[in-house]
């Protein structure tokens, strides 16, 4: 294996392991938090391994698992949606379908002109309280973010030569499947698609944390999960009390920031795994 390929494979393994850990951790998340244990409140990781407890004596492991459950699948689905839309835009440019290019341009103009968080709040207001989930919000975020990804994929395909590139490969006797799937998507669009997908994956997780934090800080139910579930934002909220009121919850802040950093590292690993040669 060449050195560059080995490096890319290593980053891919790291990224997939991290993503897999989040999804699998979500499967093990308890449906409800344990009963409060006031005798064990605000304990650090050394006193109550492995991650310490919150102000009610509940282990932070449960918060971490529930948070993973909230973000894992919706973030992945959102990333896949963006990757799919970017692929379509790239293929449309290569297929030389003029009207589709124009329709995509209008879609990009309209959707790209919308302030994303404003639309997300409009989506949030539409969700009945009993069906609150990150999935519709994440998918809406993916659609709103798609124009940039589609634009880049279309530009990359355009640099290949667009329809002329396909024509040249056809002249070599390649099948349409091989041209579009292998030569265009795998060899040329892969880096754009994976990078944009990874970006959205990270953004959806951060969006969930932001929305949940805003709700938690105002003692309101979150838009992204039911009331029995806690997001990683709860860890940051507890940690914030350590910052401003010296409540001994610094370990919650450390855990929250570590999880955020892990998500950012996972996205970066995906980007590095798909670097063009």
């Amino acid at each position: 294996m060449r050195k560059g390929t080995a490096t890319r494979v290593t980053w891919l393994v790291v990224a997939v392991t991290l993503l897999g850990s989040i999804v699998v951790a979500g499967w093990f998340a308890p449906e409800f938090l344990s009963r409060p244990n006031l005798a064990a409140r605000e304990l650090g990781p050394l006193a109550a391994p492995p991650l310490g407890t919150d102000t009610m004596g509940i282990s932070l492991v449960e918060y971490a698992l529930q948070g993973a459950n909230v973000v894992g699948v919706p973030a992945m689905m959102s990333a896949l949606l963006v990757a799919l839309l970017a692929t379509l835009a790239g293929l449309a440019r290569c297929a030389g379908v003029g009207w589709l290019d124009s329709v995509l341009a209008l879609f990009q103009e309209l959707v790209g002109a919308l302030p994303r968080l404003v639309v997300i709040l409009v989506v949030a207001i539409a969700m009945p309280p009993d069906y609150r989930s990150l999935l519709p919000i994440g998918l809406a975020w993916a659609i709103l973010s798609a124009p940039a990804a589609m634009d880049e994929a279309a530009a990359t395909a355009g640099r290949l030569g667009g329809a002329r590139f396909v024509e040249a490969l056809r002249a070599h006797g390649f099948t349409a499947m091989r041209i579009y799937v292998y030569h265009i998507v795998w060899l040329n669009l892969r880096s754009v698609i994976v990078r944009q997908g990874a970006e959205i994956l990270m953004q959806v997780v951060f969006l969930e944390i932001a929305l949940s934090y805003l709700a938690v800080s105002q003692q309101q139910p979150a838009f992204t999960h039911s009331d029995s579930v806690h997001s990683w934002a709860s860890l940051l909220y507890d940690g914030y009390t350590w910052l401003v009121a010296s409540v001994p919850m610094g370990h919650a802040m450390a855990l929250g920031l570590t999880l955020v950093a892990l998500v950012a590292f996972m996205a970066q690993s995906f980007r590095l795994s798909a670097r063009p040669r």
Binding site: D101, S102, A105, L106, E109, L110, G112, A113, L114, P115, R116, L117, V118, L121, V122, A124, I125, A126, P128, A148, M202, F206, I209, A210, Y213, L214, A215, S217, Q218, Q220, F223, L236, Y240, L243, V244, L257, V260, A264, Q268
Partner: protein, 305 residues
């Protein structure tokens, strides 16, 4: 693609946007379970729902409501708040909120514009890109939390007036301008546009003639730069929601958030419409710049007789 198609599409999008946003919210209002009147006036909590529905034009279906809402909005009349400040004119709430958000976004644009200028003239070293990108990965909510803590530790949790209030605004602008890759995107985006243009043959000709590269390249890169600028302003406006709520800035974003939490469709529609109108203005600006640039670069040079 002909040069006028993109500006035309942008103009169409700009005209459609302020009509689409209220249409979507109206559809949502009627798509929610139950009668829209019950959202304004839950039967178990209040009486006189019919009169209230008539006053808010909810009694004759979504099309009637939408038509009148858009007509009133064009006259800057937004009715009264449903829940955030019940009975209070939404227009007055907006008049209080818009200046704060405008100031926040203008201040946040400073680092972004400075970064773009530095990249354009070549003062932003490429070596600093990974650092900028790493810093830009920080989510706005985390940075906002840090700055909110700084203000609250030093001035108290309820310090919204005077210097602490100004400090919240400055920190908010700093967060918006740096977090979520705003600054890194500005520097790298502007540089890449210029670098691509530098490979053109006419730039070499300009150098041989002893002309400055920047002024030769600028007309050709201007539409792309204005497009990037529009994207960044939209990005900042979007981020303003989180920053305003965490840092306690009473702007349009925090008003929209309150409206969403309390299902106050009066506030949500007006705030979202304000965002849409601003975005439309930016789209129009980009279209105008594109048309102006196209006319300028296609103008036949004056040849001396």
């Amino acid at each position: 693609m002909r040069w006028w198609i993109r500006p035309l599409v942008r103009t169409l999008a700009a005209l459609l946007l302020p009509l689409i946003i209220p249409a979507i919210i109206t559809l949502i209002l009627w798509a929610l379970p139950g009668d829209p009147v019950e959202i304004v006036c839950p039967p178990e909590l209040c009486t006189g729902g019919d009169k209230l529905a008539e006053a808010r034009r909810l009694h004759a279906g979504p099309w009637f409501f939408y038509r009148w809402w858009v007509w009133d909005a064009l006259h800057l009349e937004f009715g009264t708040s449903w829940r955030v400040a019940s009975g209070f004119p939404v227009g007055a709430l907006m008049a209080e909120a818009i200046p704060a958000t405008a100031l926040l976004v203008v201040l946040a644009m400073l680092p972004v514009l400075l970064g773009a200028v530095f990249a354009a003239v070549g003062w932003a070293p490429k070596r600093a890109d990974p650092l900028l990108q790493a810093f830009g990965t920080l989510p706005a909510v985390i940075l906002s939390l840090v700055f909110a803590a700084v203000v609250e530790i030093n001035y108290g949790a309820l310090s919204y007036e005077g210097w602490p209030g100004a400090l919240r605004l400055i920190f908010g602008a700093l967060v918006l301008g740096v977090a979520d890759n705003a600054l890194a995107g500005s520097v790298i985006g502007t540089r890449s546009v210029f670098e691509a243009e530098m490979n053109q043959r006419y730039i070499g000709m300009a150098l041989l003639r002893g002309e400055t590269v920047l002024w030769n390249a600028l007309p050709n890169v201007l539409p792309a730069l204005v497009g990037q600028f529009r994207g960044r302003v939209i990005h900042l406006l979007s981020g303003a929601v989180v920053v305003e709520v965490v840092l306690g800035i009473s702007g349009l974003g925090s008003q929209l958030w309150d409206g969403t939490l309390l299902q106050d469709f009066g506030v949500v529609m007006a705030s979202a419409w304000a965002f849409a109108v601003f975005s439309s203005l930016l789209l129009m600006l980009q279209a105008l710049v594109e048309v102006g640039t196209a006319i300028y670069v296609r103008r036949a040079p004056a040849v001396p007789a």
